[in-house]
């Protein structure tokens, strides 16, 4: 039962003088992992922001069948003067769900953030912030994940963990679109190569 999560058809986008996409069409269905690849400046981040609806294309249709989306950009989406726990609580509030303390503790344990539960975000290292944003993503129970360079500033153990999580998520009917420069592609991922026109 692989339902469609998002379709993009005939996308055209030209920020500034140089054209990024012209007639790009992509469809993301449940269970799918899509990895965007391409050199610096080819438009991966732009495409992800368009998918999320944070940026408007010049023309073309973007249809989102699941809402809300989980988006992980270059900014972590964590309030820096709140603690880790308070940020997690906020995510579940946004989703209208009750905050499940036990699950949150479990996830923090998995990401080795247990000791940081009551630290302010601004006191965390970059990698720890990124880990925390993954915990938020998991707490949010989003169907479709849009991730911009999710492995950057994670250590090897963290990267491994995230790879497994993505695989697990897509195995359970979720989907993920990932922009990455990592040398080893994700398991089961469909590669989309973007180039500079």
């Amino acid at each position: 039962m692989s339902s469609t999560h998002l379709t993009i058809s005939d996308l055209r986008c030209q920020p500034g003088s140089q054209e990024l996409f012209d007639g790009l069409s992509i469809s993301v269905s449940g269970g799918e992992t899509i990895e965007l690849r391409g050199p610096n400046g080819c438009g991966k981040s732009t495409l992800l922001r368009i998918m999320a609806g944070l940026q408007q294309p010049d023309s073309g249709d973007v249809t989102r069948y699941v809402e809300p989306l989980g988006y992980l950009g270059h900014k972590f989406g964590l309030a820096s003067i709140l603690t880790v726990q308070e940020n997690l609580r906020w995510t579940s509030t946004l989703n209208g769900a009750k905050f499940d303390t036990a699950r949150a503790q479990d996830l923090l344990e998995t990401f080795e953030l247990r000791t940081a539960t009551n630290k302010l975000i601004q006191e965390l290292s970059t990698g720890q912030k990124r880990r925390c944003s993954f915990v938020c993503l998991l707490i949010g129970e989003y169907k479709l994940w849009l991730m911009d360079e999710p492995f950057s500033s994670l250590d090897n153990q963290g990267e491994e963990l995230v790879r497994e999580l993505i695989q697990e998520h897509c195995g359970k009917g979720g989907s993920a679109v990932i922009a990455s420069h990592s040398t080893s592609p994700l398991a089961h991922a469909a590669l989309v190569e973007l180039g500079i026109n």
Binding site: L54, P68, L69, L82, L94
Partner: protein, 221 residues
């Protein structure tokens, strides 16, 4: 429930470091003080000047704190997350506005008349000042938030905000001050008060709904 939880988050951010929540209040006192002090030789005993000064300072206090209404959230990316939850965005925005009003509007509504009394205003006139501030401050918050939302992410300071929003503030400023002045002069002020209410109703109903889409649009680089 969700509203309450979101409101709590805003207050948490506001009050995280104790004294900080007093800053708008101290700011208000400081600015009123500076004004009254510098203008003291001309205003002695004229309550109408005090009213004007308090109203103008209220505008500035509100402006300066509005500047950061969405800035922090934009900088750390939480605004983008909020915007993507389109069913919760109105709740987010409303709680933000209410929280802002709670930490600036309410204290000013209380402090304004208190300062007036200290400066020798009659209790009747001071209460009227408080009443107009009570209807005026939400309007100020709403209009300011609207312009702030348009400017999110442009990295501009309070200056641009002021230049854009001050013209919008003129009506509520004029009506608010007029009501008090007319009351002091024992003249009729019903139509001015009516306009104050009209502005209040208009801004509090329309603006919270408009803010969600505006903020989403503002994400676009």
């Amino acid at each position: 429930m969700r509203y309450w939880a979101l409101y709590r988050r805003e207050l948490l951010i506001e009050f995280r470091s104790g004294v900080e929540s007093l800053i708008p209040i101290i700011f208000f006192l400081l600015v009123v003080g500076t004004f009254v002090f510098t203008l003291r030789s001309f205003t002695a005993g004229d309550n109408r000047v005090i009213v004007s000064v308090i109203w103008i300072t209220t505008l500035f206090t509100s402006l300066l704190s509005l500047d950061k209404l969405f800035k922090r959230d934009h900088a750390d990316g939480t605004l983008a997350v909020a915007v993507l939850h389109s069913d919760a965005i109105t709740a987010t925005v409303v709680t933000k506005l209410v929280a802002h009003w709670s930490v600036t509007g309410i204290p000013i509504t209380v402090l304004g008349p208190a300062v007036g009394l200290l400066a020798g205003m009659h209790i009747d006139h001071a209460s009227m000042l408080g009443f107009t501030l009570l209807i005026g401050t939400p309007t100020i918050t709403m209009l300011g938030a609207l312009v702030t939302a348009l400017l999110v992410g442009l990295g501009r300071g309070g200056e641009l905000l002021t230049v854009l929003v001050l013209p919008l503030y003129i009506p509520i400023l004029l009506f608010g001050i007029s009501v008090c002045h007319l009351h002091i002069d024992s003249a009729s002020y019903t139509s001015e008060l009516f306009w104050c209410f009209a502005l209040l109703t208009g801004s509090t109903t329309a603006i919270p709904l408009a803010l969600g889409p505006i903020l989403k649009l503002s994400q676009d680089s």
